[in-house]
């Protein structure tokens, strides 16, 4: 794959929770996102995957580390104008389509808010035309523009959220669990829509989710997070066929599959961080085991993983 769109370098996000305690929600993660790809980020709740997404888009100020978007530091000092320019290029789709749309604004105003702020429409007519076009793109129609969010179902609201993100013509979209709150039959509709938009507009996605089968379907590469660390990063297929980190293995072994025969013979692997048994002088870091497949491990483990790898 070609150009790097986003470089995340040793990103840290620590929260002060009072009494001198800090929660290390994201604790030094490094990865790149290439132009036009979908990077999936999975892990259990509380592992820091959502925080990672929110820090990348500057909803939180990073404690340490860098996020480079097209080579430019996202967290650096910015004038209001620069910030505006940057905000246009990066957008977010949220998990809860009920809480993320203002109930007192019409759909047209919700979608056009970005258009107004960035002055992307010359006059009212052009603004409405843009709104109609966006509604059509996400599979809704013109008549929906003057309605309010409560008049829509969950799947339709998520489409409105997507239209809002697309309004300012972004390059990069962070989708934080965009389908978790939706029904199975509607999930497929939204995922298909996201894929279609990616093909047509050359978008880059960071797709955060805990539904592993959907993540595998939509992602080119997948990162697995555990307690604020990125423990494994590989192409979607390689990760499923050759999981190396014991946590990834345990995660994969727990996915319920819609197939009674495999379920009857399922062997679940549990993960205990003690299995690593690291000694104090060992360097634990992201190591490339095979090209494009990174695992957070010690030198000794890296050797074992390499030996076990089967193509």
């Amino acid at each position: 794959m070609a150009e790097k769109l986003l470089e995340i370098k040793n990103l840290k996000q620590h929260f002060h929770v009072g009494k001198g305690n800090t929660v290390k929600a994201v604790d030094g993660i490094t990865f790149d996102i290439y132009k036009g790809e979908t990077l999936g980020l999975v892990g259990e709740s509380g592992c820091g995957k959502s925080t990672t997404g929110r820090t990348i888009i500057r909803l939180y100020d990073a404690t340490d580390g860098q996020v480079l978007f097209n080579g430019e530091d996202v967290h650096g000092k910015k004038s209001a104008k620069e910030l505006k320019k940057f905000n246009r290029k990066m957008q977010m789709i949220f998990q809860d389509p009920y809480a993320s749309l203002n109930p007192r604004m019409t759909v047209a105003d919700i979608i056009a808010e970005g258009i107004d702020i960035h002055g992307l429409a010359k006059d009212k007519k052009e603004r409405m035309e843009k709104v109609y076009e966006l509604l059509e793109t996400v599979g809704l129609n013109k008549e929906h523009a003057n309605r309010y969010p409560h008049e829509f179902s969950g799947g339709q609201r998520q489409r409105i959220g997507i239209a809002r993100a697309l309004a300012v013509d972004p390059d990069f979209i962070i989708a934080d669990e965009p389908i978790s709150a939706l029904d199975v039959s509607i999930q497929a509709q939204v995922v298909n829509l996201m894929k279609k938009l990616q093909r047509e507009k050359g978008l880059t996605y960071l797709f955060i989710a805990h539904d592993l089968s959907m993540v595998k379907y939509i992602s080119d590469r997948i990162g697995v997070m555990y307690f604020g660390k990125l423990v494994e990063l590989a192409s979607a297929e390689d990760l499923y066929n050759n999981p190396m980190h014991p946590y990834t293995r345990s995660l994969l072994s727990a996915i319920p599959l819609p197939d009674p025969d495999t379920e009857r013979t399922r062997k679940r692997v549990s993960y205990d961080p003690k299995v690593h048994n690291y000694s104090d002088n060992e360097q634990i870091e992201m190591r490339e085991i095979v090209p494009g497949h990174y695992v957070y491990c010690s030198e000794k483990e890296a050797q074992t993983y390499k030996a076990q790898y089967v193509k």
């Binding site: 497929a188 089968s213 995660l251 996915i255 819609p258 379920e263």
Partner: protein, 355 residues
């Protein structure tokens, strides 16, 4: 096998300003002892209302059971009063809810919440109830139960809370356990633990379980039999193998095809079911699924399909099984999983006239 629950032609509706919503429209099923029945369907399909009606937990009014019977151990619970129901709830039938944070009382210790049912239904002394509460916490796999009984729900993690809920539900050795999306709010790893726990406890206590979920993976894991609900009706019912390897209803096909498969590296578009479920204030004429169904026949828009029987245990409510119906090919993803099952009849048999 002994039948523990028989639901016959159950109809439930809710009075709202917009008119009466017919949430459950003629649902019938049986449940045997020690069996797990999974009810699947999307939100608004009536699966939760059905199960809450079995415990008579729906608010009445606005809710109303407009028809049908619920026989629990041969005894109809529909006419029972609130007082009589209190003897059944928690003792004979228990429920596990989806969201453990909102269904546990945040101001009561976990131990006290478990003891409540024991003291009420089994006339235990406080002392004995507490000992039993510790045992139950131990049984559901909570470490250090002696300390945990004195803690409050906020001191528990999500998975631990769900275990505590299971402990409460099992306190009085119920004969029937209704689990309404018990793992939807949990992570996959925790989900797998809770499912294992439920199966383990079921085999020890011989409880029957009604398991409500929209996750087909979970269904394949826990269920003996599956009922697929759509718009307040059961559209297909059968053993877990029949539903996953020989589905007959186009809605079941749609559900199965819309899930990406893990070992399939095919990046083709997912077969989504178009549109949204119908408004049950005015259920559509004919088959409620017709408008979203690519296999819909002309008659689907006119007349509701009757129930057809495909094997001793397999039923489906679709005109496609009518002898004169054209032969259709299910979607690719479903065809790949189809198998010939030995118990299938040569010809689908009409069992009930549609209304």
């Amino acid at each position: 096998m002994e039948k523990i629950l028989e639901v016959k032609d159950l109809e439930v509706s809710f009075q709202t300003y917009g008119g009466s919503v017919k949430a459950v429209r003629g649902v019938s099923f049986d449940l045997h002892k020690g069996e797990t029945l999974a009810i699947v369907g999307e939100s608004g399909s009536g699966k939760s209302v059905t199960s809450q009606t079995i415990m008579k937990l729906i608010p009445m009014p606005p809710g109303k059971i407009t028809g049908g019977q619920i026989l629990f151990n041969g005894d109809d619970i529909v006419p029972k009063t609130e007082k009589q129901m209190e003897k059944i709830r928690g003792k004979e039938i228990s429920m596990i809810f989806q969201d453990p944070m909102t269904s546990l009382n945040p101001t009561m210790k976990i131990g006290t919440q478990i003891m409540e049912g024991l003291i009420k239904h089994q006339n235990m002394s406080k002392q004995a109830a507490k000992t039993r509460a510790v045992e139950l916490l131990n049984l559901v796999g909570i470490p250090m139960p002696e300390r945990r009984v004195n803690q409050y729900p906020h001191e528990f993690s999500g998975g631990m809370r769900q275990r505590a809920m299971i402990a409460i539900a099992l306190a009085a050795n119920p004969k029937l356990l209704i689990a309404d999306e018990p793992t939807t709010a949990l992570d996959v790893t925790i989900q797998a633990q809770i499912l294992d726990l439920m199966k383990d406890l079921q085999s020890k206590m011989d409880t029957s379980i009604i398991f409500i979920t929209h996750d087909l993976g979970v269904v394949a894991n826990v269920a003996d039999r599956v009922a697929v609900m759509y718009a307040g009706q059961i559209v297909e019912m059968g053993t877990v193998d029949e539903i996953f390897y020989d589905p007959r209803h186009p809605y079941t096909w749609g559900l199965l095809a819309s899930m990406p498969s893990l070992d399939n590296d095919n990046k083709a578009e997912l077969a989504a079911i178009p549109g949204t479920p119908p408004d049950l204030t005015n259920p559509p004429k004919g088959d409620a699924f017709a408008a979203r169904n690519q296999y819909a026949l002309a008659i689907d828009f006119e007349e509701e399909p009757p129930m057809y029987q495909i094997s001793e245990t397999h039923f489906a409510k679709t005109w496609l099984l009518h002898p004169d119906a054209p032969k259709v090919e299910p979607p690719e993803a479903v065809k790949n999983r189809m198998r010939q099952l030995s118990s299938t009849f040569d010809q689908a048999v009409l069992v009930k006239e549609g209304k």
